[in-house]
Symmetry: T
Subunit: 147 residues, 12 copies
């Protein structure tokens, strides 16, 4: 059974209480449940995690490469500042999809640049919590499973 990791970056643990006009009222556990439903429908195993620490996220990407066939990465703020996460994605042979809840292109200029996107398969942003199932489906398609 193919396994996919979903990794969430800083402040996403606050989802539902943090700036709801941008990020909505859905919590991270709600999103995890949505992901598990989609994974179940597609016959995939799923690991879902979150960390506020750049170093821990580097560790998790390295680890994901040994246990999963693909990674959905919502690096949140680190998207715009972390070369270490970019290098971690480059360093492992795992396909990675960059994901954002909000449409980063409609926000501050500094959120338009991603250090990580250039070394990913693709990017999905702006669809709120619905972006997670979409990304899992996109990964399944990328892995040649029924998308």
């Amino acid at each position: 059974m193919v396994s996919i990791a979903v990794l969430n970056g800083p402040n996403l643990n606050l989802l539902g209480q943090r700036e709801p006009e941008i990020y909505g009222a859905t919590t991270l556990p709600d999103i995890e449940a949505m992901c598990r439903d989609t994974a179940h429908d597609l016959g995939l195993k799923l690991e879902f995690s979150q960390s506020n620490s750049e170093g821990a996220l580097v560790d998790m990407i390295q680890s994901a490469a040994q246990h999963h066939a693909g990674l959905i990465l919502n690096a949140a703020a680190y998207t715009h500042t972390s070369v270490a996460l970019r290098d971690a994605v480059s360093a492992v042979s795992l396909p990675v999809i960059e994901l954002h809840l909000s449409n980063v292109h409609a926000r501050e200029e500094f959120r338009h640049r991603s250090w990580i996107a250039p070394v990913c398969v693709g990017v999905i942003c702006g669809f709120g919590p619905q972006g997670y199932p979409l990304a899992i489906r996109a990964m399944a398609g990328h892995l040649g499973l029924a998308g």
Copy 2:
């Protein structure tokens, strides 16, 4: 029955013969077929079109707002140069999803900037032809239909 438009910009009519190392071997009619399958599965009507002309694309966006509930827009090269398409999207009340076959963030610097993304619901890029069904599914979700 809800209807969605899919609009393709310049040079996408060459798909399958144009730079296959970037864009793959699938043709635009192949993609239209994939879109029709997905639309059918989701119970949606679909209009699929292409033009090489910025002005014609402006016309088509204006027209789409009168006949469709949502628009999937792969503006190709005009993504990076057209304020007119941005203004057309702003001017109509239609939700629009920006779509790219390739991961534009992994290509030349000038393809990282989109004039249109800031006025769209969201962006999907890098998944090749599979991005089209994903975008239709994302639009269905955005419209509150079963995604």
Copy 3:
């Protein structure tokens, strides 16, 4: 009888329905009527047209130079991206006034730059539909007619 052309660029056909908080509720036919009134008062003939296509606007500027004594140009989005329109204005011997409904300097940074203004007689912006009669009056003054 001296004739003046008024040429409108992309998305101005949507006026009155497009982003009324920026562009107001007046429609393009309303504006044409205002222009005709002013032209009549000043004893001028008037041609009033619109196109969403950059190439068609180039054609129209070239044509205007053969039938009119002056041109009022609201190039809308093409103001900020079109060297072709600039070159068309430079190429003809016709005096041109750049016009905008909104105060472009109070909007996004990219709307502050005009490719066309440097080759025009002058610029009028920010007065909404009232800018059209003002521009016609300014052209009449420029042509040495009673302003």
Copy 4:
């Protein structure tokens, strides 16, 4: 009877003798006379003044807000360097129109940026002395008087 102020910035007192190839041969008193004619035609009172001092111009804008219904401001060189004038315009509730004799967009790069325009109603430039009556007329229109 509605009153409008016309305020002129540095070096405009030299008009007629200063760089006539750019600014023409008309003097500032000539322009004042033209303004008074237009104001008279439109049934408006007019105050017309000039100063070379940024601080004095700030004072005059503050004072204008107490005695006039609108302000025509040709801030000349301070247009491109004065945040203090911008803040004065923002600070008062008076509608302000920015005016330039020359087409600033056809001159040096540094004259393309205006600190003041973003907080004005609109901008008129490039029509020489004729720009003053046009601006008064534009202000009358903006105030809902017969324009």
Copy 5:
């Protein structure tokens, strides 16, 4: 008895009526009263003044160096444009604290740069009228008086 000067730049005389959503309803005389209270508590003499003129502010800084032990400077708009004020601060041996009512870092990009801050002791911004007593207290501390 140690004396401190508080110097206010352009448009601060409008405080209370100018853009209250940014600057609040407190007037400059209200602030002067707050300053006098704090100075009294700290056993300091206080001079409080305002000018809209950059040149007059240069004069006042030069003069302050002869009569006071420290200067609180709210240079308002000149903060972002005046090298002359920076040079005046550098030229005198007086310690100067830069002060702003609003949080300039949360406003337009051009308000993020201060010409004067690099030659001051420190900066306090964002606390509204309360920033004045804080700055006086900070100056007292800097001068080795009970802060």
Copy 6:
């Protein structure tokens, strides 16, 4: 009893031994003592902490929002590189004051930009250890307590 948190970023644990010509000879425990004195005077509870880790600082800001009424944040080097800290401050409803020992505007160019200041109440910098009591006092004032 109202409680305030004071949070210190990377390398501030070295205070007193690190570059004394910039940061002085006072140690972080000395500063904590000064803060406790001020808090005591103002009738406030105080939590004082430090970490070299960006992720841990994100955790601490999130946690502070549940136990304190305000936060004084000296993010040190992360001020200039961390969007994650900015997002943490935005995500919580806690008022935050940015604090620096040195006058960052008098140092290297890259220390002039703060990612965090735009989402804070205000900024205090340049007053050395005395800045801490000032910031606590500013927070008390901001919270409507006797400042």
Copy 7:
């Protein structure tokens, strides 16, 4: 018999009347005649066309790839703004030579950048109408025909 296309962009139809101090007195039909002479000398077939529309030029490049062995492209103003033309050139397997009448490097800064040159064989500029026969000769050489 080998065939070559010569494609001319916006405003080149005005040649001979447009800014003769830059572009000279020769008309586009004059140039076509020069091209036909050179093609005849080199034993080549020639198609010569012009359009003011970016979209039409994209169509023509796509079409040229099916009927010609090489393309001479004077994209005029679109040289500096059109990614669509660049992508059209990249998308077809046809060798393309970029051509300009004037020395673009001796004109405005914005004419120094070409979107199209990086995907062409080479560039010829500054030789006026004589550049056309030179470009045909260069193409013949590039195709391994007697140059």
Copy 8:
């Protein structure tokens, strides 16, 4: 008898006490005396003045054009910020020499740009008080008097 004006900008009245490591110990009256000696040697009349106000300096330049054959201008800080002074110099037909005591190119980056130098005859900087007699001599030479 030919007359020359020497005009000094903001903070130069502090000379001798202001930052002596940059500007030396000579006072402005000392410099005036040196200038008078040189003028006397060259058979010139001399007017020597100083102001801290940009507007007053504009007035003085305008006035100088009516009473003098040449102007030596040490605009100090306004050199780097004042378009009004530049326009004043352009507006009058008087030859102007820009002068600085210090070598501005060896100081902060922002002192390398002069708004005024492009409209002057030439520039002399870095020679301290000795630069004044040199500038007077240069002006005498420029005016065709024995230099």
Copy 9:
């Protein structure tokens, strides 16, 4: 016996498996062995460590200053983003040599800037694993030991 620390940043634990075309097939334990050989030859003690966490690296630099005479720092991706590491190096009195396996100047633009190099003794890059013994030898030389 003099002791030297070698500190490795994010993703260097993957060495040998990560992008071997850039970083080669040697593993970090291989490099540690090379370092121990060189240290042994030079009569030095050696501590060798790695972390993916910026905060942990700050801790390690602070700690190194208490137990070692010099530090070799391969900060990997943090080289280009971490002011905290720069400040840690500045804060301790330990000499530090910056080291990179690859020639960072031959890679992406963003790898050309190092936040840390300006506060180091020197930099060695591009020699692959051989750079480590070189750096140890350079540090021995810098410390006045036989290099």
Copy 10:
């Protein structure tokens, strides 16, 4: 008999051995032979030379102006760094054509800027050794000889 000089800059003496994937296998003597053939066909005298020294190239341009009617200049690397060569071309009254073997616009960003092109008649690049005969032919045309 009209004479033309062909001048080659640094490293072109290595042609044929230097980076053949960019510059091809033809040597500089091969190119000289091609040039002599073309010159012979056109009835022109030819001088062909090369130097690695910027100063020597300045000398050669100055000298060419005295002995030749036109100059073909392949300044190689100095194209992008030498104002001295630009000034030499400006200083002499000789028409100069800038030539490059490779298409500089398809290479590194810094090769897109030429200091020399703005003062030349025109530019030819990207045609390899064939560019030399083309440039001679272009010069002949420019000189009014049969091109």
Copy 11:
């Protein structure tokens, strides 16, 4: 007897024939004669030389430091491109005055930056040939001789 060197850079040997509208009709030998007259008047020895080669100019500056008390340097085009000349000036203990015939600030943007000025005593520009005697006089003054 004190000796001064005057060193002239590339293309200055063409003076009198090179672009006379910028540089005038005086030749370099004319200027040398003027310099000798001034040196004679001031009781100075003079060496006067010119080279088109950057390396030769570096040699000459190094050599000047051994035989002269001061150097007047008109580095012409190398002013804007040569760090080697800057380093040569820094490396020797000789006072150097930068000199230009034309007012470089009134010419192309790239002539506004000097690599050499920041390490010189001062700069004189815009006075044509008269600048040479002025510079010698300035050097005499700087050396404490009668200026």
Copy 12:
């Protein structure tokens, strides 16, 4: 016996007398002696040379490629301005190591960019004269000799 060249650029002949606070008291002959010792220890032949001329350095690099197995290049000031040296290094098949005495990253901004480093094997900087033996050792290692 393998031979290595060491090539030194402009002003390095002054070493020991030039700015000793940056470059130290060691002379170039001292450094040559150190290099010869190291080469002897490693069983290498050595050629050691210096020139102030960019063109001569290009010649020397070309020549080195024919007589040596590797090149140590301290291009000094030309590092930051010379594309010709970069192209020379690219043009030859010789491995090159860039070397600097000082830590260029701790000096002026313009010394942070190297035109040459991207085409070298690696870079060593900041170790003073000791950098030369280190570079020779690095080259020996790179050539597979005992390093």
